[in-house]
Symmetry: C2
Subunit: 888 residues, 2 copies
């Protein structure tokens, strides 16, 4: 984003820069002055490419225009006329001429590409006289009048603010009269009549004649471009995008060329390399005897560029050579537009081309090999988020284009999945085991659904946001998830759901695109990802450049292993709550929760201990000596107890207690706002025996590993600390338990277990100096920190977030990308205060933001030691960390 | 709280200070050195009062004791012995003497009164020899042996750490032997035998003989006092109370006097003025032939002090004259202890006496009149919270002492109320209308219960904290409320509740003490408050001294009126949500919520408009031109819809829609964490028409008032703002609506309506510089700010708060008293950043903390303009604000 200060730009007196064979004045002028388009036109002209000549009126003129109360500065039009004269001489055409008139296009163009500003005006210079001149010069009167009616329409619309409808109406009358339906079938005479009708409508609505002086047309068009700089839409766009310090927009006036002058004419668009694969082959399409808009409109089917060899091999060769010149000059893949007018090639546009993640990786590596760019440039050029496309399945473009879109939810976890709906976790497990591919369709998910979520090919929820339970868990596994699809109304009992009145059941095949949130009908074809050598190369270069370590959030040996393969340097967040849901564990967990005294609670905890120990042995082993940060139990206990009567009855039977007792305890555990309730370290304060069991399991697992000569590096993280006293108390209990366990196991070695805390409560950040006295590391939990700093519940935010985004109150969902303005202040305070107490305090981040490139950049800038993210985002984080370090 | 730094105290060489007729050395020494008790004993001796002589070993000696590894400093015992000699000479008694032995008491005494340190040892100096001496000197051998057995018991217990049980056992054996049940009935011989048995037990458990050298007894006792300074309990107490910088404890050694030496002896305690009423009359009681502990134990009934005139008028006169001397010296009401030994009066203790709120007010005013103190001193001396006792009914002490306590909940809203349980709001309304006095007993309350809460004499809830809905609303009305009484298990369907297994129904009379949280059985007698002229005087003086304005939180004309009578200078928080629950309004409100489009919503809102307008006219009129800050709708919409099927069906019928439609909308409105959900200004963003209706009502009400020549000063407050953009957008809508309403009503005058916001989201405080750009005032909503800064839900905090307080993780419930360490940082940031943008920005506080003296002190220190609190706390806030200003 260009954010140059206005004061850094020197004002020159030159208002207009010419580009063409005669001279190219703009080659050393910045795009702050010429705008992006003007700079590129000057650039292409300068390196000798065939560009229709023209000139650029600078952004400084736009600034003057506003400085002088929306008046063009003195001398501008003289200068414009002078440049028109040069243009006339160069092209041997004359403005408004009755034989061979000069026609130009007028376009806006600021230093930053900016939708919302003025559209293009084409064919400017046509008048009642010149139109006949064009007819003579081209030998095509229909063509000339078609151009003229287009000019009047565009001019009326864009310069005079007329309603497009007025022209539409006239066109319809003419088509009716000539009994045709397509514009192109209107005969020459019809167009002549249309021009007359357009001029009449123009007069009626603007109270003036359509100007017959080309210079007047041009002057008005220039003013219209300048005015468009300050329309509400444009101002708002700059505000939202944080575009500041621009002078204004430039105006580009360029000679017209026509691709629709016969079979020796044509037009096309192309990429200098394949934007899907990155392959170094010219890639694009063209249409014979057509204008640029025809390619875009899709009425005629264009041919691949390679076919041009048959039509006009010399033009093809010329394009191939232009590809090299452009890439050599811009050092990047170019997206170009060109027109062939009567066998002569003209370049109309060049810009860096958009590309897929795979293509970005391949091109960057290829260009390093070709010595076009350096490794650093290669890294900075790949949008880190696009690496997802290399890691997860996606729908093929062709198949998706044909699919029927049912609704769009939130793109909660990328990937593509196809299957039939299952309406409960149980059902998902059963049907998957029976060989079906199912999608778990739920209002929202809870930890109880873990098994079903893991079985399902994909997850669809009707409520919940980007950081809802379903979303967080799915991202952890790289499982496709569309969340918060509000139009999906689920009737779990009937095992159906409806979308806009249409009903679906467990037999209907559905496709989910987790990268876009799209829910589609039927089976859309997917393509599987494959990792190339270039991917590894980018990762290697990233590792050389980055300052931040990258860890992962993983709760199972399988996730841990995968993350390590993706390059994770440790586990930054090992949640222990999911571990309690499998098989018999949940029963023991529930016994623990339902226990009425410490003794019974301890008894239940003793049953859980061996499970936890085994989990940790598995994870330590998978991580091969890399650090594993284990977070002690965090969620409120009610998440573990059954809420429906059937399950409560089952539990009562299994436990041999009355169902009323279970219901009473469940009722007791109910909270108005569980997110702000009895959870995190608050559980350890009231039930220290849970902490003791977990720490015992960690220590015993570490000892078991040591005995098997497996290196185990454990870090114990106490969640949701809000006051230094909480941490002091619990840290003491953890340390005591470590010592007691070592003694009981007769282990004298050093386990070097660090004890630290999560900073996720605003108060902990504000008092981080005190908290740090009792912590060996900090890890920012920015999910909760964002919830509390904004006062947003991530589970409920969907009720107002769409309005907040569309009304631009928020630039982005703060759960997706860290709010550096507000939440960032608390992160900075946490770091500064923590390190004021302990200068070398290790500090990381383990919220969802740890995998978001913009947030990673912030983490780098405030001096964190590491970020931790879900396994599938580890490569993204490695690249983003490198980019952050390189662009410091 | 004394927090003198250790470094500020100069060490002297003098270790022991004598007080008595011979000399008084401590009169110019601070209590840092002598301790509080030592200082007072020296003080009383110095002004010529009859104090048993003795000496004080300084706190510096205690510090040396610890500096030297718990050894008494060299020379101390020499000095002690020297002082014992002086004492012997002065009293003509000798330590350990076989005829007339000197006996002393040994007491600890730090500069700050500190429970947890050593108890008193009495009768020190008794040995096998001295006990016979005492028998001779007093002519009472039973008395002598009783004193001796007490010494051995106390010494064994306190100095040697013996278990009290060992002595108890021996005493039981003796009582059995002599067939008596009371200690006092054991004959002389029995006590002689008991001493022998005690000495044996002492030897068995301490492996040493009971020391027969009085100096050795004294040395050991001094060491025991010093050791008690660092017991776990004492250290913890200082930590919790924030007592820092003390040197240690002093030791007071004082000659024994006895009130139990016959009918010319006695003992008593008294206040120099009536501590209940403040009346300037000597007030207390005495017992003839008794020791101090007999008065406390309550076995015998003491006589009022006035009766002493009959018994010994000269002693009475002496006491009256001592009263004047003490008050003249200490300039405050004194709480004294005295003993008469054989017709001679001795003063044992004096300290500032505790008093009721009414007494505090009266005494302070009286003493100003008596020129004992200044107005400033008078103000600083009244505990602001105690004013509650002057404003609300309370239980009489006598009646309460007899009442049966059932359980204790949270003292959520002070006052005393008696009535029979009602289990729903509806029932409370009905039965009250029928003339019954009822208490609303609910698990928790919601805005739907407003009517019932208002009808009830008091409110009892089983969940919810000090800032739960019930608590906040009750405090607003001055209605008695006990909240979060967890032992109360309510069965609303059966219309019963149980407390510890005992069942109560709608016929059982219950009494609630909202100042203590006590729930009592039956009707406890109450006394009604009455306001004195002295109360007004204190208020007047307060108003002269304070810098902070005091506003009130009031939602109805009646509350507004009452608050203005209590001195409120405006309404700082007028909540609009309660207004929607009465009669037909709730139906219109529900129609609005259930509306499926803007048109229907507007239609329902049009029905609400006249109600709101009338509300505001009433409130503006009641406030007579004082500012009224109206907060726009804040709570989530689901609070207004019915959640039980019966009410849903009724609503469906009234609205003519299907019950399923209502259920679906209710379901849709459900939120996982409503506190962090779709509420506050977020409602205005998604449903701007609600804001428009409310602002229209405010503006129309203001215009109506103007026309009736009633001054109306409205301020519109936008709640729950988290980003400057929200406020910018909504401020714009408010301003537009004001302008549109004025135009529609053809009103051209200036209404001067300020538009501001609540700072209650951490992010708003962190970005207050940006927020201030769009605000004409700020008001801190510290309830929500505390919730989010700590991550505590005020509705759920009871599940862990008791543990947090008992384990001293939190010094106090942060919803009661503002957490200056954490939340305070955000308040300070909000003020600093807000005023950085607008230096004169008006800033207040309208959370519950606005009525808490400690929080008011903080508000004063950070430069707020006003505090706003519930009507009944306005006088408290006025006084607290004055105290804050005076103690700056």
């Amino acid at each position: 984003m260009a954010t140059k200060k206005r004061t850094t730009t020197k004002r020159t007196n030159k208002m207009v820069y010419y580009f063409g064979k005669t001279k190219t004045e703009g080659q050393n002028v910045t795009k702050d002055i010429l705008g992006g388009k003007g700079k590129n036109l000057a650039g292409m002209t300068n390196i000798g490419l065939p560009v229709p000549p023209g000139f650029t009126i600078t952004t400084e003129v736009c600034a003057s225009y506003y400085d002088q109360g929306q008046n063009l500065p003195t001398g501008l039009m003289d200068s414009v006329k002078k440049n028109i004269r040069i243009l006339e001489r160069e092209l041997k055409k004359t403005f408004g001429d009755s034989k061979n008139p000069l026609l130009v296009s007028v376009r806006s163009g600021a230093a930053v590409s900016m939708p919302g500003m003025m559209n293009t005006i084409l064919n400017l210079g046509l008048t009642d006289v010149a139109v006949e001149g064009l007819a003579t010069a081209t030998g095509n009167r229909r063509f000339a009048y078609d151009a003229y009616r287009r000019l009047i329409n565009m001019y009326g619309d864009v310069v005079m603010g007329m309603d497009h409808e007025h022209f539409e109406k006239e066109f319809d009358l003419i088509k009716k009269k000539y009994k045709v339906t397509d514009d192109t079938d209107v005969p020459e005479q019809g167009l002549v009549e249309l021009v007359a009708a357009y001029k009449k409508a123009y007069k009626k609505h603007t109270r003036s004649e359509f100007p017959q002086d080309p210079i007047e047309q041009l002057k008005m068009a220039v003013e219209a471009v300048f005015s468009s700089w300050n329309t509400h839409r444009a101002v708002r766009y700059r505000e939202v995008e944080g575009i500041r310090g621009l002078l204004g927009t430039a105006v580009n006036v360029q000679a017209m060329v026509y691709g629709n002058m016969g079979d020796d004419s044509g037009t096309g668009v192309a990429f200098t390399r394949n934007p899907s694969t990155g392959e170094n082959k010219f890639y694009g399409e063209f249409l014979i005897n057509a204008q640029g808009e025809d390619v875009v409109a899709g009425i005629r089917t264009p041919q691949p560029v390679i076919e041009m060899r048959k039509w006009n091999d010399s033009i093809y060769k010329q394009l191939i050579s232009i590809k090299s010149v452009l890439e050599g000059n811009y050092c990047d893949m170019q997206d170009i537009e060109f027109t062939i007018e009567k066998g002569k090639l003209f370049m109309l546009q060049t810009r860096n081309g958009k590309r897929t993640g795979a293509a970005a990786v391949k091109m960057a590596c290829d260009m390093v090999r070709e010595k076009l760019i350096t490794e650093k440039e290669a890294l900075l050029r790949i949008p880190a988020n696009d690496l997802t496309q290399l890691l997860l399945p996606s729908f093929t473009v062709v198949s998706k284009a044909k699919a029927e879109l049912l609704t769009i939810g939130l793109p909660a976890s990328p990937g593509a999945s196809v299957g039939k709906p299952a309406f409960s976790a149980e059902e998902a497990v059963k049907r998957t085991a029976a060989g079906e591919k199912v999608l778990l369709v739920r209002k929202e998910t809870s930890p109880e659904d873990i098994d079903g979520m893991h079985s399902a090919a994909g997850i669809l929820t009707s409520t919940g946001g980007m950081t809802s339970h379903a979303a967080v868990v799915a991202r952890g596994w790289g499982r496709c998830c569309v969340a918060g699809a509000g139009e999906v109304h689920i009737n779990a009992d009937a095992r159906t759901f409806t979308i806009n009145g249409r009903k679906f059941n467990h037999k209907d095949v559905i496709s989910l695109d987790g990268s876009t949130g799209e829910v589609m009908r039927g089976a859309v074809e997917t393509s599987q990802p494959s990792l190339s050598g270039d991917f590894s190369r980018i990762m290697r270069w990233s590792d050389k450049s980055r300052r931040l370590d990258v860890r992962t959030n993983a709760d199972t040996p399988a996730d841990a292993q995968r993350a390590r393969e993706f390059g994770a340097q440790g586990i930054g967040l090992c949640r222990t709550e999911h571990m309690f849901f499998e098989g018999d564990r949940i029963l023991a967990m529930r016994e623990m929760i339902l226990a009425e005294n410490v003794k019974d609670r301890r008894k239940a905890l003793r049953k859980l201990l061996p499970y936890q120990r085994r989990d940790f042995v598995g994870i330590f082993t998978a991580m091969k000596g890399l650090p594993v940060t284990v977070r002690l139990l965090d969620p409120p206990l009610h998440e573990f107890v059954p809420h429906d009567e059937k399950s409560q009855k089952q539990l009562a039977k299994k436990m041999g207690v009355k169902v009323a007792a279970i219901q009473e305890r469940v009722e007791q555990l109910h909270e108005a706002n569980p997110m702000l309730g009895h959870r995190g370290c608050r559980l350890s304060v009231t039930y220290p025996e849970i902490l003791e069991m977990q720490v015992t399991a960690i220590v015993e697992a570490a000892i078991l590993c040591k005995k098997k000569r497996v290196k185990a590096v454990a870090e114990i993280m106490i969640p949701l600390v809000g006051t230094a006293r909480e941490l002091k108390l619990l840290r003491g209990k953890v340390a005591e338990t470590i010592a007691a366990t070592k003694a009981r196991r007769k282990f004298n070695g050093n386990l070097n277990i660090l004890i630290g805390t999560m900073l996720e409560i605003p108060r902990a950040c504000l008092t981080a100096d005190e908290v740090a006295e009792h912590a060996e590391f900090f890890s920012f939990g920015t999910n909760d920190l964002t919830q509390m700093t904004f006062g947003y519940s991530r589970d409920d935010i969907n009720s107002f977030l769409p309005d907040y985004l569309s009304q631009e109150i928020l630039p982005v969902d703060p759960f997706q990308s860290l709010d550096t303005t507000g939440v960032g202040q608390l992160v900075e305070a946490g770091v500064a205060k923590g390190r004021a107490t302990k200068p070398n305090l290790k500090i990381g981040i383990c919220g969802e933001h740890g995998g978001d490139p913009a947030s990673i950049k912030f983490c780098d800038s405030v001096g964190l030691n590491y970020v931790s993210c879900s396994p599938f985002r580890v490569p993204i984080a490695r690249l983003a960390a490198a980019q952050a370090a390189l662009s410091r």
